[in-house]
């Protein structure tokens, strides 16, 4: 199922980089990068990080909001939810990008450009999980339900393959991956303890979206930058979805059911996926945050899907 680029609008809320010429230049590159891919960009500049309600009042017909802010601010405090409600009660995805320096902004811009430029040939999803029946059962079920002519599910739970093989599969530019298991602010418990520095494939292509459906991988507890933020800042994924606190297994199961349904209904960007998959329970979404590009496409190219198909697993 090949997809054509649709016209979208993003609202970027950013700080004034008045004394930092490089950051301003790199921001213009980011803006151009979106515009080249049929995405209109609206920009709001601020002196002090705006509160949720202030952003809410500015959101009207945009498809997504990206809030760029000082990395000293935690994702938990920068945003309340992974989406923002308009006055008409419409949910719009909102993401956070921690700003440390102009170099990070350039890396993010390159990732956005790469992910939006590649062909969107297949809805391919890597189903990752820790080696535990509670979590492998979820990916088993997702793989069974998603195995249709329109979706290519790859079951890569920790009991089936090595961390290195899994990373190689992801770093070949796969559009979407979801992880179920235990999580920590510095990474996943699965795959013998996965950390951001394990993503080190040479000439790696960024993942479209990585959904880390577990506890705390967007939390800053005892770490300068969370696992989800680090992956985005390193250009390993265009967008990451992670929790700033502990989550419940029942809530993550709700997400798995929602994601499965949304993919079968044709969700093709992280924005569409999150909005359609979001459970109604406040507890299920209140701890999650989007980090990175809120409009990242989640489909994969033919080459990435072919490579994923050949990833070595040990049944």
């Amino acid at each position: 199922m090949k997809l054509k680029q649709q016209h979208k609008t993003i609202l970027i809320v950013k700080p004034k980089f008045s004394s930092d010429i490089h950051s301003e230049e790199n921001f213009l590159l980011l803006k151009n990068s979106y515009q080249k891919h049929c995405i209109d960009v609206q920009v709001i500049e601020y002196d002090v990080l705006p509160e949720y309600t202030k952003i809410q009042s500015q959101v009207k017909n945009q498809d997504a909001v990206l809030l760029i802010g000082d990395a000293k601010c935690y994702p938990k405090n920068a945003l309340k939810y992974p989406f923002i409600k308009t006055i008409e009660n419409k949910k719009i995805p909102i993401s956070w990008l921690p700003f440390r320096n102009s170099k990070d902004l350039l890396t993010f811009t390159k990732t956005v450009y790469q992910v939006h430029s590649r062909k969107q040939d297949h809805c391919a999803i890597a189903l990752l999980s820790q080696r535990h029946p509670r979590f492998t059962r979820i990916v088993d079920r997702m793989a069974t339900i998603l195995k249709t002519p329109n979706v290519l599910p790859y079951k890569w739970s920790s009991d089936l393959l090595l961390r290195e093989n899994m990373i190689e599969g992801l770093e070949n530019g796969l559009g979407l991956a979801t992880y179920f298991g235990h999580g920590r602010p510095i990474g996943w418990v699965g795959y013998y303890g996965l950390r951001s520095h394990h993503f080190d494939t040479e000439n790696a292509k960024p993942i479209g979206a990585l959904l880390s459906l577990c506890c705390k991988t967007a939390s800053r507890k005892n770490t300068s930058v969370s696992f989800c933020e680090q992956l985005v800042l390193d250009g390993k994924t265009a967008v990451a979805f992670g929790a700033v606190d502990s989550t419940l297994h029942t809530d993550n199961t709700r997400w798995s059911v929602g994601i499965t349904k949304a993919l079968l209904n044709g969700a093709s960007t992280i924005a569409e996926l999150i909005i359609e998959a979001s459970p109604k329970n406040v507890s299920a979404y209140t701890h999650y945050r989007l980090i990175g590009d809120p409009l990242a496409p989640i489909y994969s190219s033919n080459e990435a899907a072919l490579f994923a198909n050949n990833v070595k697993i040990y049944p």
Binding site: P133, R134, R137, I138, R141, L248, H249, T250, T253, R254, S256, V257, G258, K261, P279, K280, N281
Partner: protein
């Protein structure tokens, strides 16, 4: 109305536990049908998606049979 809800519940139940036969709509999910908490989590999530309702985890003991769940959904819709 209730019959339609029951049929939908049974359809989702069949998806989650294809081999399980429900002899009575009053059979207890856990004690009589052997549905474990993981099956229950998926089953409830599917029902929530279907009816766009919220079933808090604390309410799960109240919806231990197909009939009780159907009644719960009907009330949630009102």
């Amino acid at each position: 109305m209730k019959n339609t809800i029951i049929n939908t519940i049974l359809l989702h139940f069949k998806d989650v536990k294809p081999k399980l036969k429900i002899a009575s709509n009053d059979a207890h999910f856990k004690q009589e049908l052997g549905v474990d908490s993981l099956d229950m989590a998926e089953f409830i999530a599917r029902i929530e998606q279907e009816y766009r309702i919220e079933i808090p985890d604390a309410d799960w003991p109240q919806i231990a049979t197909v009939n009780l769940l159907a009644e719960y959904i009907r009330n949630a819709g009102n």
